[in-house]
Symmetry: C2
Subunit: 224 residues, 2 copies
DNA sequence: GTTTAGGAGACTGTATACAAGATCTGACAT
DNA sequence: ATGTCAGATCTTGTATACAGTCTCCTAAAC
């Protein structure tokens, strides 16, 4: 069978492997610290070691995998502290993203924001939980893209995926309340109110941090 | 000849190729948009295509290289706008880094700050220009590491290298004045004054932006 | 029982091979 | 002169091969 995607739109095995490994890590199917043996991954995914190796480098650069030369790769470990630290970075970065998005209101990518909100509303109501998590990341990323700052978007993507990972690991789900805050952030962006947009984005991340903290401090033993 | 580095400290060819390609891009030896043919790079560096390919993925994740499936890799292009945009991100991120570093003052990595400052003073006085640029990046990164936030440091590294690239491309050198600001930032961090540290870091980046803007607006034609 | 040497097996790092798509060249048709 | 089509060439994507190192187990020495 030949492939049907042409030219630059072609998805290479490497891309698919990268996406699949990232998905498995985010979904918790690959546990923190778990050893990643190239041979076995390659066999499991039905490819050779080469695409797997390239994927491992990419995921290592994104911080999901730790590589030690001549020893091998493992899924990264996230201590509770490291989890909490990420929220500080997010507040700074996402605050900026919201501000810039408000400044640039009406750009083409602002439409995408509304789309994601609508999709999410539907997914929340029908209780498709995993999809909701993806849409959450998609919304935050869309804010980054609406900011019209190419490096900001580039850098936010792995940051937000890492945030999603943290939440999936701690089982701290926030539910519809979080989407209310998204809607409120969207309104501020649409209104072009920079200060308000930044404030709401920061408050939203701060709320997420609180729910992360209560989730880690009580139900589950910290994993260290 | 066998290698002398043992265990995890071993430097693989991939690591060396990555470092060398990054260096060539930062130094301008590889021009923006330049085509990167795996065969030729491999031959030029005396290795096989495999380490080169893995390097390309890493540098693409860092934003220095653009990869199009089945077409190939090119050195990324930086428009003047994209260059300017990075400063916004830097102000947010480095402001946070300085604040956290001040909060954590006295940590082991704070000593490193002073070391870099001393090395830089020497390098500035003897006019070793390329080394000064590296030390500038090293100082900013050291602030990030002194913040004691693992993701912050991880994410700042490519961001600062990108900043160094931008400056090397525009030939906007700031000289000793910049190091005065570094010293001043260091003092605020040492004093544990969070607000002042953040303010000085932001002001420092803002000053860098101004010097970038004057450099691009006048002497050289923008490369778009 | 503990320690150490040795060797088998497992795994990574690197090189090479091959298939398929992308690009270029030049001839031919209009 | 312009456009288009076929073939040759270049380049990437993927698989396979092999060498060197690391790990772990076993057995011998103390």
């Amino acid at each position: 069978m030949t492939d049907f995607t042409l030219g630059a739109a072609h998805r290479t095995l490497r891309d698919e492997v990268t996406a699949e490994l990232r998905r498995r890590i985010l979904a918790g199917e690959l546990a923190q610290g778990e050893r990643l043996v190239e041979d076995r991954l390659a066999a499991a995914l039905g490819v050779s070691r080469n695409p797997v190796r390239e994927s491992i480098r990419v995921l290592a650069a994104e911080g999901f995998i730790q590589v030690v030369p001549r020893i091998g790769a493992t899924v990264a470990r996230l201590s509770a502290e490291e989890g909490e630290e990420l929220f500080d970075v997010r507040m700074a970065v996402e605050g900026l993203a919201a501000r810039l998005a408000a400044r640039k209101r009406g750009s083409a990518s602002a439409i995408r924001l509304r789309q994601v909100l609508d999709q999410a509303k539907e997914a929340v109501e029908s209780g498709r939980l995993e999809e909701v998590a993806d849409l959450n990341t998609a919304f935050h990323l869309a804010v980054g893209e609406a900011a019209g700052n190419s490096y900001l978007a580039l850098m936010m993507k792995p940051m937000l995926q890492r945030a999603q990972w943290i939440f999936s690991q701690t089982a701290a789900v926030r539910g519809p309340h979080s989407w209310q805050e998204h809607l409120s952030l969207w309104e501020a962006i649409e209104a072009g109110d920079e200060d308000e947009a930044q404030a709401r984005a920061v408050a939203h991340v701060a709320a997420a941090r609180r729910s992360f903290l209560t989730a880690t401090r009580e139900p589950k033993p910290a994993n260290d």
